[in-house]
């Protein structure tokens, strides 16, 4: 096995710009007059609405239920009146069914839906149900329903829970702030999920540019916790599941497999912190911490934002520079730029960056086979030849011989490419074309 000195092979070191926000405490954002709650803001089946236009809802009340196991419910992020349920644009582009509600301006916005579960007597099965009821998804950006990860396939024996506190994307600091400000909730969440997974061991992996968080968490760990905090080297994409597992445990997840195949379950620290707070109270996910940053924002910071807040409202609150050019949801490496400011903040949105136009833009040139992308790819792929094949439209060959589907679009290859070839964009097109073809051939 390759040596796993708290890091992984390849990867890049982009400037991180975290100093813009890493010292700013989490601050609550006011309620927008109107909230948009998409019924599909997670991987899996969309939720089924429980409300209709005109209904009055209380903050925290479930307004949509899960459609089967691979789905999650939605909760009202504020007290207010349902205005309508209609198709609205999503960040990804296609329109999705969305509950639109008007917030009662004068309301105290107390949470009215507490259950006070007794966490001592719950068993694994009940806990997993509570997690699903909370509507929790991977808050790191994947939006994968958390309770699904708590039920690994029976042939996989999970023995370790990994809490992902790497936050390797530049600019983002929301997880860093959560670890500093709410270490107790984080540890509570880890203990609960250990119980749900019926395992003892947990490791928190944090990049070594956040040693203050390592220190704070270490102080809060109890002696019988069996929770370990490990600093890993700061390198992008250290926060990718496979890279983190390699760095912490020296285990390599085989291509096309989930982490549970090597006995690991990975959760983002933001997810765990919220679960630690929500589960004992039986509450649902109605807000999240979003890092608002970038070089065209007047008041960058870490904001506690109600789910469903329109980006437009958030932008007005933080203030824009005149040179604002592009709005990116997520981090600069994997986030997506949005075409419409009417899209809402969703559960998996960890950051919003407003950027100026890049001052120095080189033209796209032919591949000179410099090999920088091969030295950057953490999955050991050959992005150069994948790019050439994509240019000639050989999408099937990319998958058959060059492992296209093992690319998780971290963006390292495109970041280093001196020819400015939009490799990741090519790969996305190739993947979706392959998917379409496969679906066509099965029907």
């Amino acid at each position: 096995m390759l040596s796993s000195e708290n890091t992984f092979l390849h990867g890049i070191h982009p400037p991180d710009f975290k100093a813009l926000t890493c010292d700013l405490p989490i601050q609550r954002l006011p309620f927008a007059p109107q909230l948009l709650i998409p019924l599909s803001q997670h991987a899996g089946k969309p939720s089924i609405s429980l409300v209709k236009a005109g209904d009055e809802v209380v903050r925290g009340q479930p307004i949509a239920k899960a459609d089967g196991f691979f789905s999650v419910p939605q909760h009202a992020p504020a007290s207010g009146r349902i205005k309508s349920i209609q198709l609205m644009p999503s960040a990804r582009g296609p329109k999705v069914e969305t509950i639109i509600m008007e917030v009662f301006a004068a309301d105290t916005q107390e949470q009215g839906y507490d259950f006070k579960h007794d966490m001592q007597d719950t068993n694994s099965e009940q806990l997993i149900q509570y997690v699903q009821d909370s509507g929790m998804v991977g808050l790191g950006g994947a939006a994968f329903p958390t309770h699904v990860k708590l039920k690994p396939p029976p042939e996989h024996q999970v023995d370790t829970l990994v809490a992902n506190g790497c936050e390797c994307e530049p600019y983002l600091t929301c997880d860093h702030r959560l670890m500093l400000e709410q270490p107790d909730n984080l540890l509570k969440g880890i203990r609960l999920l250990k119980k749900a997974l019926q395992i003892d061991k947990a490791i928190i992996g944090i990049e070594d540019n956040k040693l203050d968080a390592v220190e704070v968490i270490q102080k809060h760990i109890k002696s019988d916790d069996q929770i370990e905090v490990k600093a890993v080297k700061t390198k992008y994409p250290q926060g990718a599941e496979k890279m983190l597992i390699h760095a912490l445990l020296g285990r390599d997840v085989p291509p096309g497999n989930f982490p549970s195949s090597v006995g690991v379950s990975v959760f983002n620290v933001g997810t765990l912190t919220q679960l630690g707070e929500l589960l004992p109270l039986g509450r649902g996910v109605i807000e999240r911490v979003v890092t608002v940053s970038g070089n065209a924002v007047q008041r960058p910071g870490n904001y506690l934002v109600p789910i469903g807040t329109p980006i437009d409202f958030l932008l007005k609150y933080v203030g824009l520079e005149d040179k604002a050019y592009e709005v990116i949801l997520g981090g600069p490496m994997m986030g997506m730029s949005i075409a419409s400011l009417d899209v809402p903040v969703t559960k998996a949105m960890s950051g919003m960056l407003v950027m100026q136009k890049q001052s120095q833009q080189h033209p796209i040139q032919p591949c000179i086979r410099c090999g920088y992308c091969l030295d950057a790819c953490p999955m050991m792929l050959n992005p150069s030849i994948l790019g050439l094949l994509a240019r000639s439209g050989d999408y099937e060959q990319m998958q058959k011989y060059y492992h296209l589907n093992d690319c998780f679009e971290c963006g390292c290859c495109t970041y280093v490419c001196p020819a400015q070839i939009p490799l990741i964009q090519y790969f996305r097109i190739a993947k979706s074309s392959n998917l379409n073809n496969r679906q066509k051939s099965t029907t």
């Binding site: 390759l2 092979l9 890049i12 982009p14 530049p170 496979k242 390599d252 085989p254 291509p255 497999n257 437009d312 932008l315 007005k316 824009l320 604002a324 050019y325 592009e326 709005v327 990116i328 600069p332 490496m333 994997m334 997506m336 730029s337 949005i338 075409a339 400011l341 950027m355 136009k357 080189h362 040139q365 032919p366 591949c367 000179i368 086979r369 410099c370 090999g371 920088y372 091969l374 953490p378 999955m379 050991m380 792929l381 050959n382 150069s384 030849i385 011989y401 060059y402 492992h403 679009e409 963006g411 495109t414 970041y415 280093v416 001196p418 020819a419 400015q420 990741i424 964009q425 996305r428």
Partner: protein, 361 residues
Amino acid sequence: MSKFKLIPNLSSSPHVRLGISVNQIMYQVIYALLPICAYAIYAFGLSVLLLIVCCVIVSILTESLFCKLARKSNTIADGSVIITGILLALCLPPGFPLWMAAVAAFISVALGKVLFGGLGYNVFNPALVGRAFVQAAFPSAIVTWTPPFLSGRFTELIPSTMTMPFMKPIAIDNWLSIKQTAMQSTAQVVDAFTGATPLALQKFEQIPTPWQDLLSGTVAGSSGETSAIIIVLCGLYLAVKKMLDWRIPVGVILGALCLSLPLWLWGDVLTDQPNYPNPLFVLFSGGLMLGAVFMASDMVSSPLTSRAVWIYAIFIGVLTVLIRFFGGLNEGVMYAILLANALVPLLSSISGTSVFGSGKK
């Protein structure tokens, strides 16, 4: 409120870039070649300056012409064609007639580069394509060498430089002997005062040249290949800047050593040919260093994957020594690199990368 009428622009992730461009890489290579050019001019005089200028200008003109013919935007700004011109000049003899150099430069760019589709698509190192062409076309001019550090080299040209186009090069034997007498009278005694290169001396007359002379470059040879030490230093600069794959020069040297070392030690036992040269002589003589550092490592025509790179580099080293020791020519770097270039697609197809987690290395 209306102040926030932002119409966002769209782009695909990642939204940040390292900020290095192809042009920057190419210009770094050019900068790294400049000390070698400077030493070549210092050692051989004005003729080499003209040779370099001629090769670079003709290369640039050729690429411009073909861009125009293909109705493409002009690509000379990327700097790669300047590298081709400089490298070509550096691997030609100092007194090479300028019109022949112009032919070589035209062939380099036209046949070696633009016909394949321009930068990034050429299979062979363009400079070596031109060099191989003139080696076949002008067999005597390409082996007409001049010793370095001739008196008056900064005030007069080597006579053959200014040969009329399509004429045979002016013979320089007489000119050389006049120089020799002049320099001997001023007590500047130079060892082995002939135009012959160390490799030719070794192969055809079994006269060894001390490898220390090869390091510093006080011998005859192609204009840019004589000082191994400057070439290595320039290569180190590029390798540190990650604009040169260090594995290629190292592999070429390893390849050359693994054949020349056993032959030097036990050559009389292994073969019927005694007196194999010192491996250090093999490394520092001829174009091996220039080829290993600047030509074999050409990004476009060398392989990408780690395994393929090692095979490619070691193959060049071994083949060079094979040609030098057992072939008809005394120099083999050029053909070794060209042959290895031709192997690159094959090497690439048989040595892929091992995907993370696949358990292979």
